[in-house]
């Protein structure tokens, strides 16, 4: 059921242009990112190309980034996680609720409890996928529906507006030096997951499972447990993203928080999979994908482009960016 991006066709190539093709395909999306930055800077130098807007873009993409990075871990193993929308909503809402009602006095404790809960829910997804043998797509879709229902039920559709302590709001509104807190979280998540996937035994095993689960299993890797881990991480990142949204806005919304980020996080991860290491999901790629989406959104908004143009232009830029990367890879195969 996995998505097979490689197309097939006559292969021709000359060793002379090989290196060039390689470079272009690896750096295609990065080049698109640079091109977007250049164009927006030219068109709106005083607004776009400022250090303030730089942090602003980072701040805007940080929530998408955190969610997309978690999703990347699941996608490395070929697992689509559609529950992350519901998970983000639940995470943000529960943290606000528990803190507003005083269930937990300390924001840190509340955040940790929510993250632990998310890990458990994600691991449940993993159990059904690995031991039940159901495709992750449908499991996470169903669980996402359950989460949506639960948070509506728990909240009675009421947004939590008051009683959220400042210690929690700082997660979304604070700054460390010039760096907004959401960006700090994004950086932490990116570095941790980068090290996790690239430098640890667990990450190595995940790539092996994603590449060929049967080989991994026959090499003695407990393949099934990794589905729990991957979907757990994905869920925890989604919940963290949801909490940062809540802290940023200062309200606990029972609806619609995560949905905003669902498709964009897939888009970012898939853009990432055509960056630097074509065909592989990886953290650096997703970061590039997130930045590309962030720059496009920010640039188009700053230019005051009409909404419908924003949709259309965004689609076109995405298409061009990924096309630039993939077209040449394909020719090389």
């Amino acid at each position: 059921m996995a998505e097979s991006p490689q197309a097939t066709g006559p292969r021709r190539e000359t060793s002379t242009s090989d290196k060039l093709i390689d470079v272009v395909s690896r750096y295609g999306t990065i080049a698109s990112l640079v091109a977007c930055v250049a164009i927006f800077s030219l068109l709106k130098p005083d607004v776009f190309a400022t250090s303030q807007n730089f942090f602003n873009i980072l701040n805007q993409v940080s929530i998408l980034g955190i969610i997309a990075l978690g999703l990347t871990v699941a996608l490395v193993q070929g697992l689509f996680d559609l529950s992350l929308a519901g998970m983000a909503t639940l995470g943000g809402y529960l943290a606000c609720k528990w803190l507003a009602e005083g269930t937990f006095g300390s924001p840190a404790v509340a955040v940790l409890v929510v993250l632990a809960l998310a890990l458990v829910i994600g691991a449940f997804n993993g159990v059904v996928v690995a031991y039940g043998g159901v495709s992750a797509f449908i499991v996470t879709l169903a669980v996402g529906s359950i989460l949506t229902g639960v948070v509506l039920g728990v909240s009675d559709s009421q947004t939590i507006l008051s009683g959220i302590p400042d210690g929690f709001l700082i997660m979304g509104q604070g700054e460390i030096g010039p760096i907004p807190m959401p960006v700090v979280f994004l950086l932490i998540v990116a570095v941790v997951l980068y090290v996790f996937l690239e430098q640890t035994q667990l990450g190595r095993h995940m790539y092996a499972i994603g590449g060929n689960a049967e080989t991994a299993r026959l090499s003695g890797i407990p393949v099934k447990r990794y589905a729990l881990l991957a979907l757990g991480i994905s869920a925890a990142c989604a919940a963290l993203g949801g909490m940062i949204v809540a802290a940023n806005l200062g309200v606990g919304r029972p609806q619609g928080v995560g949905d905003t980020y669902l498709l964009d996080s897939f888009a970012a991860a898939f853009i990432g999979a055509s960056t630097l290491r074509p065909g592989r999901f990886h953290i650096l790629g997703t970061v590039i994908g997130v930045l590309l989406i962030g720059v496009i959104n920010n640039g188009l908004s700053i230019m005051g482009v009409e909404t419908f143009w924003q949709y259309a232009v965004r689609g076109i830029i995405l298409l061009l960016a990924v096309f630039a990367a993939s077209f040449l890879v394909m020719r090389r195969r």
């Binding site: 006559p10 060793s15 035994q201 790539y207 590449g211 060929n212 090389r332």
Partner: protein, 517 residues
């Protein structure tokens, strides 16, 4: 390079040139020249062996002829006139039909749909598929490849490897091809099936079809081929009439005189030591109470007809099948319900299906090699950071020991040729220092030189104290490497052979269920 060009013997019809000719074929991959000014020609009505070591470029040449890849430079001629083979459709239009080394069949589809994939299923009332005639045509083709009882409705994924191989041949026969190219079709076939295939090839050759036949089993070459072309490093070594060469001189040509190895025996020189692996009363879907012992220092062969127990014993020992029975490693009973527990117990599997079960093609050689031993390269059980430096040096050491040919240990495994890929799988278990090696047809699709290396490896593993369990579809291999052979028939051990009693004939007789040797 000495090239003995021989004029083709038979079927010298009034044609301006040979049926198929390739001149100056060059194929470059990034960092590799897979074909280097290769010349080849095929006459109508001949069976022409295309031989060479792993990675010599045989499959590359075949893929170019099939339109699966495009040559960097070089020409292809049919009947003396230059043709373009830019895609598989063009190859088919030119009458070239190919059984590729891998991926000939779509496992999800029925036998009929696979066999008639090139030809088309045929229609009735406009657009609808005429299933009845499609199945009828398929049945006729299956009949020809010796599978008269195979139900053409069956899904290919439900067939055994040997049945799949013959279905692939049937698919090649389905088209009205003038050139049929078979890239290692016999790898997973039993001797009787090989004979069926050969008689079909001879029959069709008599009708004027030209065959290109790739194999690493040299006895097959002399059984069926008229001419022999040997490749090395992407180029031509020479072409001979089969009668001009014998086994030894062919091996010289294949591997180069300096590397040639004698008919070395790989059997034990010292008596076996303590029991390392013991299985008692294995019972399952196929097995009906199999006992087995393997001692340090011995290579134990397990032989049977397909589906009658040999493969099942290996899979059961490795936890891939649920069976009843007891397994002891170094005298300790081990609960082995899954491969993870098998690995933990010190077992190693070199699986039969290298691509699907042995390798992660998109990962590097290094990452594939350390897949089973990541634990020994991690810093600690909490952070589990990988120590790449140590990993790299140990992999390099083991791969040097196995004389792996590659473009570097960071290259993706998918770029390796068959034999070299097999060495990566074996290297994985050397790095893990396993105690029990289950070698399930480890020499399938491996060239004659590397085969020798693998036999030697099996021996040195045993000599160093491991128990080695060995299976093969080539019965001569049991004779060359095994100290003891258990022969299974219908899920039970029907005989045990040792030393000089191990012969192709005795194994064959026992496996057909004849008790007495």
């Amino acid at each position: 390079m000495t090239t003995t060009q021989n004029e083709p013997g038979r079927e010298s019809a009034a044609r301006p040139g040979p049926l198929l000719r390739v001149r100056e074929a060059v194929k470059d991959y990034p960092g590799t020249r897979a074909l280097d000014h290769m010349d080849f020609s095929l006459e109508a009505g001949e069976v022409h062996a295309l031989l060479g070591e792993n990675g010599a470029g045989k499959s590359t040449l075949i893929k170019a002829l099939a339109g699966a890849i495009a040559l960097t430079s070089g020409t292809v001629e049919i009947d003396g006139s230059k043709v373009e083979v830019r895609n598989p459709q063009q190859a088919q239009a030119l009458g070239i039909s190919v059984v590729h080394q891998h991926g000939n069949l779509v496992p999800e589809l029925s036998v009929t749909e696979n066999v008639l994939m090139v030809e088309g299923l045929g229609r009735r009332i406009g657009v609808l598929v005429d299933w009845r005639s499609a199945h009828r045509r398929t049945r006729a083709l299956l009949d020809r490849v010796g599978l008269p009882d195979l139900d053409p409705h069956r899904e290919v994924s439900s067939l055994g490897a040997h049945e799949q191989a013959m279905v692939a041949v049937a698919k090649a026969l389905a088209s009205n091809a003038r050139v049929i190219i078979l890239d290692e079709p016999t790898t997973s076939l039993q001797p009787a099936e090989v004979d069926t295939l050969f008689s079909q090839m001879r029959r069709l050759a008599e009708e004027g079809i030209g065959f290109v036949f790739v194999t690493h089993r040299l006895n097959e070459v002399f059984k069926v081929c008229d001419r022999i072309t040997v490749m090395r490093d992407g180029g031509l070594v020479g072409t001979w009439q089969a009668a001009e060469l014998d086994h030894d001189s062919l091996v010289d040509q294949l591997v180069g005189a300096e590397k040639a190895i004698a008919h070395e025996a790989f059997t034990a020189t010292a008596p076996p030591r303590e029991v390392v692996l013991e299985a008692r009363g294995l019972r399952g879907d196929v097995l009906r109470g199999v006992d087995l012992q393997a001692r340090a220092g011995e290579v134990v062969g397990i032989a049977s007809l397909p589906g009658e127990g040999a493969g099942e014993v290996v899979e059961s020992l490795y936890g891939m099948r649920r069976v009843h029975g007891e397994v002891l490693v170094e005298g300790t009973p081990r609960r082995i319900r899954n491969p993870q527990q098998a690995v933990a117990a010190g077992m190693a599997l070199v699986p039969r299906d290298r691509l699907a079960q042995g390798l992660v093609s998109d990962l590097s050689i290094r990452e594939n090699a350390t897949l089973a031993s990541t634990k020994s390269y991690r810093t600690d059980p909490v952070l589990r950071l990988m120590r790449r430096g140590r990993e790299r040096s140990e992999v390099a050491e083991v791969m040097a020991q196995l004389s792996l040919k590659s473009g570097g240990l960071e290259k993706e495994v998918r770029t390796l040729s068959g034999g070299n890929a097999q060495k990566v799988v074996i290297g994985r278990w050397l790095l893990r220092r396993a105690k029990v090696y289950l070698l399930d047809s480890p020499t399938a699709a491996v060239d004659v030189h590397t085969k020798g290396e693998i036999y030697g490896l099996a021996r040195s593993l045993a000599d160093n104290g491991a128990a080695v369990v060995f299976t093969s579809t080539e019965l001569e291999e049991f004779v060359r490497v095994c100290d003891r052979v258990l022969v299974l028939h219908d899920g039970a051990v029907v005989g045990e052979l040792a030393g000089d009693d191990i012969t192709v004939n005795s194994i064959m007789r026992l496996s057909f269920g004849r008790k007495s040797v």
